[in-house]
Amino acid sequence: MRGSLSGLITAAGVLLLQVATLAAAQTVLYDKSRITCVSRQENVPVEAQFRKFTAQIAFDPARPETGKAQIEIDLDSFDIGFDEYNNDARGKNWFDVRNFPRAKFVSSSMRALGGGKFEARGPLTIKGKTNEVAAPFTYKEEPGSGVFEGAFSIKRLQYNIGEGVWKDTSTVADEVQIRFRIVVAAAKPAAKK
C-alpha cells in the first residue's frame, strides 16, 4: 500500500514536471553555453567572448516554426583577452555600455532549412541600432541536453561599433562573426527505466 502510494506520487510529480517544462522555456545550461564574436584586424581573426547573457528558448525540432528565442547579452562581459582592450571596448567608441548595457536578439520567425539545419530570423539590437539578422543553426540532442550551434555575420558599422579612429575598416574589418553554442537541459526528463 505504502509502495504504491509513493509510486503514484512519483508518477504525478513526473507528469507535473513534464507539463511545466513543456509550457516554460527550456532551461539553459550557461556553464556549457558560449557566445563569442570573431573580428578581424588586418586579416587576423581574434575571438572574444561574452561571458554573461540570458537566453529564453522554446524549440521543438519537430515543429521548428513554433520556436522562439530571446537572447540578451551583457556587453560589460565582453572579454577579448586583454584588460586594456576590454576597457576600451566598454567605452563610447565601441559598445558604450553605460548607455547601452545589453545587446538583444528576439526571434520573429524560425524555420527548418533541411539537413538538420534551422534558421532563426529577427531583429538584433546593439547600441541603440536595430537590424534584421538571420542566424542559421543546428540542433543536436545529446543525453540530457540539447545543443544549438550556429554563426552569422554582422557589419559592425551598422551598429556604430567602433567609432572615431576605429571607423576605418582597414584595421578592424566591418564584418564580425557572431558564434553561439547554447546548451539547454533536455525538454523531457529522461525516463527512468
Binding site: 584586424q41 588586418e42 587576423v44 583577452g81
Partner: protein, 185 residues
Amino acid sequence: MSNAASTRYTRTAIALHWLMFVLIACGFSLAVYMVDLPLSPQKLKYFSWHKWIGVTVFLLAVARLAWRLTHPSPALPATMPLWQQHAAAVNLVALYVLILVIPPTGWLYSSATGVPTVYLGLVQLPDLLGRDKALAEQLKLVHVTLNFTMLALVIIHSAAALKHHLVDRDDVLWRMLPFIKLRGK
C-alpha cells in the same frame, strides 16, 4: 691580391647579414616603441608588422644558416689571440641560436594571447597553443629576455668588429662590409 675574394664573405652572406641587421633593428625598435602606446588602430598595425618582421627574420635565418653551412666563412686573422677567436665563435653561435629561437617564442606568445599570426596579412600560421593568459605572460617574459640578451650580444659583436677595424686595423670588419671592393690603405 689573388686571394682577396676568399678573404671576404660571399655577396650572398653579406647581403643576408645586413638585411637581417636592418630587419632585426626595425623589429626590435618597433617593439620597444609600440608596447606602451595607448590602444589605437596604429598600435594594432604595428603589432602585425612586428610579427611579419619576425617571420621574415626567421625565414632568412634558416636560409642564412643553410648558406653558411655550405659556404665556409673566411678565416680570422692568425694574429688574433685564440681566446678571442673562441669568444667570437661562441658569440656568433649564440646569435644564430637567438635569431632562430626568438621568432618562434613570439609566435607562441602570440598564440597564447589568442591573436594568431597572419604573415603579411595573407598566410595564417597555425596556433601552437590554446589561449592561456598565465602562459602568455611567461612567454612574453621569455621573448623579451631573449631579445635583450641578443641586444647585449649584438653590442659585443659590433664593438669587437669596430675594434678590429679601428684598433687592430685588420680585415675582419672589411670582409663583411657591402659595396667595398678593396680596403683603402
